[in-house]
């Protein structure tokens, strides 16, 4: 029983030492200027480390796992390119998993900051970027998210950059697609989260401008199954006579919804238009969904400059190296890595502010798999092209995603006939 008092004292001791350490050394060092070398000059040249916080587990893990491979490819390419320029510089990467959780993303960025890393690529979700933002701004850490699209993050003068076009642009493309395909009265079936709501709002506004009517129908995310939601959707489609369903979803929920919709006679009679989320999800390439897609002439939009040789090359190399298809935002991630590398070199000093300035300049003249990467005044991708995708049957009787059209100057141009 004597042991009871010892741990208590130990705690007080540890706590006291820690607080004393922080208080004493902390106050002293806070006021002193902070020399913070994030790069190490060695005999072989300079080595810079780029931090990554990616959703390797959690809700977005199936995408995150593919992203992680894209990162390895991109870093390799970057290093080869830098070598080709004769620069004695090497880029390293450190990948941390953030479980698609806010707290974890902040912890990861803090860890990078403690190690002196000034450029972090990720996190994936807008809610995570929001949590990271204050810390990044205060500590001058450049954050480049390849996939955050929330309009509430389009802020001037911060350290947050996004290499993906805003949802507003895509909503416009999707609205144009639906309108051009002859639908005038549509129901927007969307995720009840910031992405889904914002996308739906944009879509409804653009669609009204085009002269159509659209109503919103949100569904809760994270459910085991969406049969009831699809049934409610069918009820409304029939009773109110909608001509098309616009689905704004991620991969798993999108696949689930389409799989149930394929069994509904009502929903098989209307057109379907889809956002970029479900694109690339292998669950969609089943026979029932494939047949459904052909029946309803299912089209989706996604950020893509179609026939971009760089994208095609990346896609083929990736498949060759890892045996996998590219998932959503892979090209944006790839370009984020390249931009980060060149910005560090251009900045001259390894300092957040300088890198942020350099990043804007580098992006102006960079063209990659995701197209022209120039940023607008809020640090988001200024120019984004949108392609149209479909699920088509291959010669072997299987199904695959194919980019069949492109959004150009306010209209959709089809370059291939997806459904006969």
């Amino acid at each position: 029983m004597a042991s009871k008092s010892i741990p208590t004292q130990l705690i007080y001791l540890i706590a006291g030492v820690l607080i004393g350490l922080v208080a004493g050394y902390g106050v002293f060092s806070i006021t002193a200027p902070q020399p913070r070398p994030g790069e190490v000059p060695t005999g072989e040249g300079r080595v810079f480390t780029i931090g990554f916080t990616l959703p390797l587990s959690g809700e977005l893990s199936s995408i995150g796992k593919i992203w992680e491979k894209v990162v390895r490819l991109a870093i390799e390419d970057l290093n080869n390119e830098v070598k080709a320029f004769g620069l004695n510089i090497t880029f390293n990467y450190e990948i941390l998993d953030d479980e698609t959780k806010e707290e974890k993303a902040l912890q990861n960025v803090q860890t990078f900051a403690q190690k002196g890393i000034k450029v972090v690529i990720g996190p994936a979700a807008s809610s995570q970027v929001k949590v990271v933002k204050a810390f990044a701004d205060e500590n001058k850490i450049v954050i480049i998210s390849p996939s955050s699209t929330a309009p509430t993050l389009a802020l001037k003068g911060d350290f947050i950059f996004r290499t993906v076009g805003s949802d507003a642009g895509q909503a416009k493309a999707l609205a144009t697609l639906a309108h051009q395909e002859g639908s005038r009265k549509v129901i927007v079936f969307h995720r009840n989260d910031e992405y889904g709501r914002a996308f739906a709002d944009f879509f409804i506004n653009y669609f009204k401008d085009l002269g159509g009517t659209a109503v919103s129908q949100p569904y809760q995310t994270g459910l085991a199954d969406y049969a009831a939601e699809v049934s409610a959707l069918a009820g409304r489609v029939q009773s109110e006579g909608f001509e098309a369903v616009v689905l704004v979803a991620f991969d798993t929920d999108g696949a689930n919804i389409l799989s149930h919709a394929a069994e509904s006679a009502i929903l098989s009679r209307v057109r379907w238009f889809i956002s970029e989320g479900p694109h690339g999800a292998s669950e969609l390439l089943t026979q029932s969904v494939g047949e459904f897609a052909a029946k309803v002439k299912l089209y989706g939009t996604r950020p893509l400059f179609i026939a971009n040789p760089l994208y095609i090359e990346l896609k083929e190399r990736f498949k060759e190296m890892f045996g996998l298809e590219l998932a959503v935002f892979c090209e944006n991630l790839y370009d984020a890595v390249k931009l980060a590398g060149w910005a560090i070199i251009r900045a001259g000093s390894y300092d957040g502010e300088a890198i942020a300035k350099a990043l804007v300049e580098v992006a102006k003249t960079y063209y990659g798999p995701s197209g022209w990467t120039a940023f607008d005044e809020t640090g988001d991708k200024a120019q984004q092209d949108y392609g149209v995708w479909a699920i088509v049957k291959t010669a072997e009787g299987k199904y695959e995603f194919r980019d069949v059209g492109v959004y150009e100057r306010g209209s959709i141009v089809f370059i291939e006939v997806a459904y006969k």
């Binding site: 106050v27 006021t31 190690k115 204050a134 509430t152």
Partner: protein, 351 residues
């Protein structure tokens, strides 16, 4: 290796440690002392965070002559205004901090108090489940409730010490505030339980029916315990909102609750010091893992899955082989012991 920022590490780790400590200590009061299996800890944390965030953002706009209903804090204009206006005036920031903490305490505490009604008559398992599902209910509600941002949540919450200027100094002051609140919680809970009240709580935990038959108003005691525990959790939540500067409904998932439970079980039920050790070990482990994992370079097996498997196994192993946790519950030390000893020695009975 570049130079390592130890101070930054300690400040950031200890801030998270502090937030979780408050949750763990209060969970220990509820579960370890009063036997309330609160699987909805995150509810009260979330309510506090939302109350703090809502008050701070709306009032910052309002007191700077921006109509928060014209230009709500969750809209892009509101966020721009918040970044521009927030955290400039020391008196306003501190005032809002104090108000948020108070309001978070009252709001979270009241919800805790009211939630005792549905769980009044059911056993511990159902208490846990009711509170757990109430947390999910709250999350769905928040996603739909536009005045607090709905699914967007609230962002750009002005930091209480933003006016200091140097972000490192301001986060250090914030850390002191958090640790101060931990100390307050720790001392308050120790004082509260090292008393006849602590004895009564343990009696209720051991056998609530017997306690009821001895005249103890068991529902009242439970409601009060949940009020206090939830109130302090609410304050931790408000601090969290300032720390993250953003809240959204999906931050408040049951995983947070389970983390706190694991910390409390490891530390020892009924021992507040143990809870603090549990929190320290867990949060330190998470921080250190972030340093180790890149070095491992394994991509096939996710270190985070291993971490969670470890947490799950730890709970089981502690219950199986060390049911009292790291630090066992300590006997109460009220003056009665002292009095009894005197009497027994005088009477020559000697124990």
């Amino acid at each position: 290796m570049p130079e390592f920022d130890l101070i930054g590490f300690l400040v950031q780790w200890l801030t998270v440690f502090g937030l979780y400590s408050i949750l763990a200590i209060t969970l220990n009061l509820e579960a370890g002392f009063a036997g309330l299996t609160n699987f909805g800890k995150v509810v009260f944390y979330g309510i506090g965070a939302y109350v703090g965030a809502t008050l701070t953002t709306y009032l910052t706009l309002y007191l700077n002559n921006v109509d928060p209903f014209e230009c709500p804090p969750y809209s892009i204009d509101g966020i721009v205004k918040l970044i521009e206006l927030g955290g400039k005036s020391p008196s306003l920031s501190i005032g809002l901090l104090a108000l948020s903490l108070l309001a978070a305490f009252i709001a979270a505490g009241s919800v805790g108090f009211l939630l005792t009604y549905p769980i009044l008559r059911v056993g511990p398992a159902f208490v846990g489940f009711t509170l757990l599902s109430f947390g999910e209910l709250m999350r769905i509600f928040l996603r739909h409730y536009e005045p607090v941002g709905g699914s967007k949540g609230l962002a750009a919450i002005p930091r209480p010490f933003g006016w200091v200027g140097d972000p490192r100094l301001s986060s250090f002051i914030f850390l002191l505030l958090v640790l101060g609140l931990v100390a307050l919680t720790y001392i308050a809970m120790n004082k509260l339980t090292n008393s006849p009240m602590g004895r009564m709580l343990r009696a209720v935990r051991d056998d609530e029916i017997a306690a009821l038959c001895l005249g103890k108003h068991v529902p009242g005691i439970k409601a009060l315990t949940l009020f206090i525990g939830s109130g302090f959790s609410g304050m931790a939540g408000a601090l969290m909102a300032y720390y993250f500067t953003s809240v959204n409904p999906d931050m408040f998932v049951p995983a947070v609750t389970f983390n706190v439970w694991a910390m409390v079980i490891l530390g020892g039920m009924g021992n507040f010091t143990g809870s603090i050790i549990g929190v320290a070990l867990f949060t330190l482990m998470d921080r250190l893992l972030a340093f180790i994992t890149p070095a491992l370079g394994v991509a096939v097996i996710s270190p985070d899955y291993i971490r969670w498997m470890f947490v799950g196994l730890l709970i089981v192993v502690v219950l199986l082989f060390m049911p009292k946790g790291l630090l066992a519950e300590r006997p109460l030390k009220t003056p009665a012991l002292d009095e009894a000893r005197k009497l027994l020695v005088e009477g020559g009975g000697g124990a």
